[in-house]
Structures are given as C-alpha cells and as structure tokens.
C-alpha cells in the first residue's frame, strides 16, 4: 500500500481529507497498472477538479499515476484550496514535478478535450440549494459549504460535470468520480451508458453512515 501524503492545512477553510478522499486514493492505487499501460509513451494531462487540500493530486504525483510523464493541473474555485494544494505538494517532496494549480469553476477555462485523467470528489451531500460563491474571504465556513453541498440529490454539480464530459476528456481520457448512496450512482451509471459512455464501479465502501463509491467513465 502506498503511503498517504502528509497534509497540514487550515481545516476551517479547506475540506479535511476524510473517508471519501482515502477511497479515491485506494481507487487510484488499484488503477495504477491499467493507467500505466494506457499512457505508455504518452504525456498524461491530469486534472483533479475540486482539489481541496491537494491530497489526491499529491498522491498521484508521488506515485507517478498515471505515468512518469504527466503534468498536473488541479482546479478549485477556492483560493484557499489552491494554496493548500501547492503546500501539500511541497511538503511531500513533489516540487520537482510539473504542477500548475488553476482557479476556475469546474472545467470552464480548460481547453477542450485535453484532459487524460480527470478525478472529481464533488460536493455530493444532498441539500436544498447549492451555496453561492462567497464574495469575500471573511466567512470561512462558506468556502467549506461550497466543497460539500451538492443541491437536491447532491448531484447538481456532478451532473454538470458529467454532462460536459465529452468536451473535457481527450479521446482516450478517463474520469474517476465519487458518489454517495443518496446520489443514486447506479442510475447515473445507467444514464451515462445510455449516452454512450463506459461506466464501471471501481470500488464501494461503507464509511460511517455513508456508502461511498467511485465510478470510472470512458469512451
């Protein structure tokens, strides 16, 4: 088992690595060989959407996922998350690798069809509404809400990403997306398959009162 990156950031502003983050790390570890085969002799453009503390991107950099020839462009809407991601990468000795965090709303601003490996741990917790982006930095809790709450079925943000997937992924690109049971992931899988995607459950795990799962989507 690969070691978990060391993270130390202000959890009043940035989502603290939890069961969902660790599930993603395990999934990426188990997918390592498949990814390495896919990206042999190719540059891998890796984009984690909503990178938060940076634990997932750092884990990928540390363990050369998908391959040794990769560039990492993590994205978050929160300035604190991007700062934390830079810091986490540095703390774990990843300064000698290609990393450029970008502040953006999901994938807006990314050139079409360039992402080879997309990882998304979305705000998946069901809630009546999706919070607005805070206009100033004073209410730190608001930034955390943004990382957590996903509207009605917890799927409002995820659905937006999945519906745009054909414009984001490169022709051989893959996406790993995390769900909780209340997101009805089986229905999402079916919906994506109807739209012509391959959709596969990679891992499912009970975490406290939640059941988390990660699905892989590709053309």
């Amino acid at each position: 088992m690969f070691p978990t990156p060391y993270v130390n950031c202000d959890y009043n502003k940035v989502y603290e690595p939890s069961e969902d983050s660790f599930l993603l790390l395990d999934v990426l570890e188990s997918e390592q060989d498949a990814l390495r085969t896919m990206f042999r002799n190719k540059l891998g453009v890796v984009c984690e959407i909503g990178c938060g503390s940076g634990i997932v991107t750092t884990f990928m950099m540390q363990n050369k996922i998908p391959s040794t020839d990769a560039v990492y462009i993590p994205v978050d809407i929160s300035p604190w998350a991007l700062e934390a991601t830079m810091d986490t990468a540095k703390r774990n000795g990843c300064s000698a690798q290609y990393l450029t965090p970008v502040r953006a709303n999901l994938t807006a601003g990314l050139k079409k069809n360039e992402v080879d490996v997309l990882v998304f741990n979305p705000p998946y917790v069901p809630n009546e509404t999706i919070p607005e982006m805070p206009l100033d930095d004073k209410n730190e809790d608001d930034w955390l809400d943004l990382a957590l709450l996903g509207g009605n079925d917890g799927m409002v943000v995820t659905r937006k990403l999945l519906d745009g997937l054909q414009d984001i992924l490169s022709s051989h690109g893959v996406a790993y997306v995390l769900f909780c049971a209340r997101n009805w992931p089986e229905k999402v899988q079916e919906y994506m398959q109807i739209k012509g995607w391959n959709a596969q459950l990679i891992e499912k795990r009970k975490a406290g009162w939640e059941v988390l799962s990660v699905y892989k989507f590709w053309r």
Partner: protein, 133 residues
C-alpha cells in the same frame, strides 16, 4: 503558472467556445512577471512527449507575447531515436521555456470577447464575474 499550462487554458466564457480566437489567450507582455524555476530536471523523454502533445502555433504565439520571437514556425521534429547533439540543444531550450518558465504575475486577455484574466502568485484565475458566468 508554468508556460506549458498556457497550452491548456482558454476563455471561460461559454460563447467563446465556438470562436477560433479564444485560444491561446493573449498574454500582456509588460504586465507579466516571469521567473525561472529550476526545480524540475531536464528529461529529454518527458520533453519529447510534451512536444508531441502541444499545439505548436499556440506555443509560438504565447512566447511572442512574452517577448521571445526566436521559436521556429514549425514544430521541431526528432526523426532518429538516437538524439543528436543538436536535438539535445533544441530540447534543452524548450525545457527552459515550457517547463522552467513560470508566469508569477500577469494578465491574459481573450482575443474574442476581450475579457481579462489575472495571474497572481503563479495561479491563473479563470473565474468569471457573476454576470458572465
């Protein structure tokens, strides 16, 4: 942000998706502060994959924005598996440009809609104000 990342960014405005002018963004040379980051070692293999992948016209265009007009118009080709000394010189130069050059502060403008984005502390900000988002 590292130079190579300019090859993956475009305007966030939805209507600009269909325009050929929104990529690459225009980098305002006099507003851009560059820094050489020598932390990443030169790796010819890695660089070959990068060159294979990039849109060369965009590399040339951004380099010109930032005051470097020395790049060839055509993407360099490396025909022999065994890299010659000249090949290595070209690769080293591109390593310095694409991987080591960091835009610490700067401004980038969409050539289609004119929206200006800023780079601060090496982080490009592609968020739009609410009326454009």
């Amino acid at each position: 942000m590292k130079f190579l990342t300019t090859n993956f960014l475009t305007c966030s405005v939805k209507e600009c998706d269909r325009s050929n002018n929104s990529f690459p963004l225009h980098y305002k040379g006099e507003a851009c502060q560059l820094e050489q980051d020598e932390g990443i070692e030169f790796n010819p293999e890695f660089l070959l994959r990068v060159i294979d992948r990039v849109e060369w016209d965009a590399v040339v265009s951004v380099a010109k924005d930032l005051g470097n007009s020395t790049l060839p118009q055509q993407k360099p080709v490396f025909e022999n598996e065994e890299l010659s000394e000249e090949d290595m010189i070209v690769l080293r130069d591109l390593h310095v440009l694409l991987i080591q050059t960091n835009i610490v502060e700067g401004e980038m403008t969409c050539r289609n809609c004119g929206h200006i984005y800023y780079i601060k502390n090496s982080i490009p900000n592609l968020l739009l104000p609410p009326h454009l988002a």
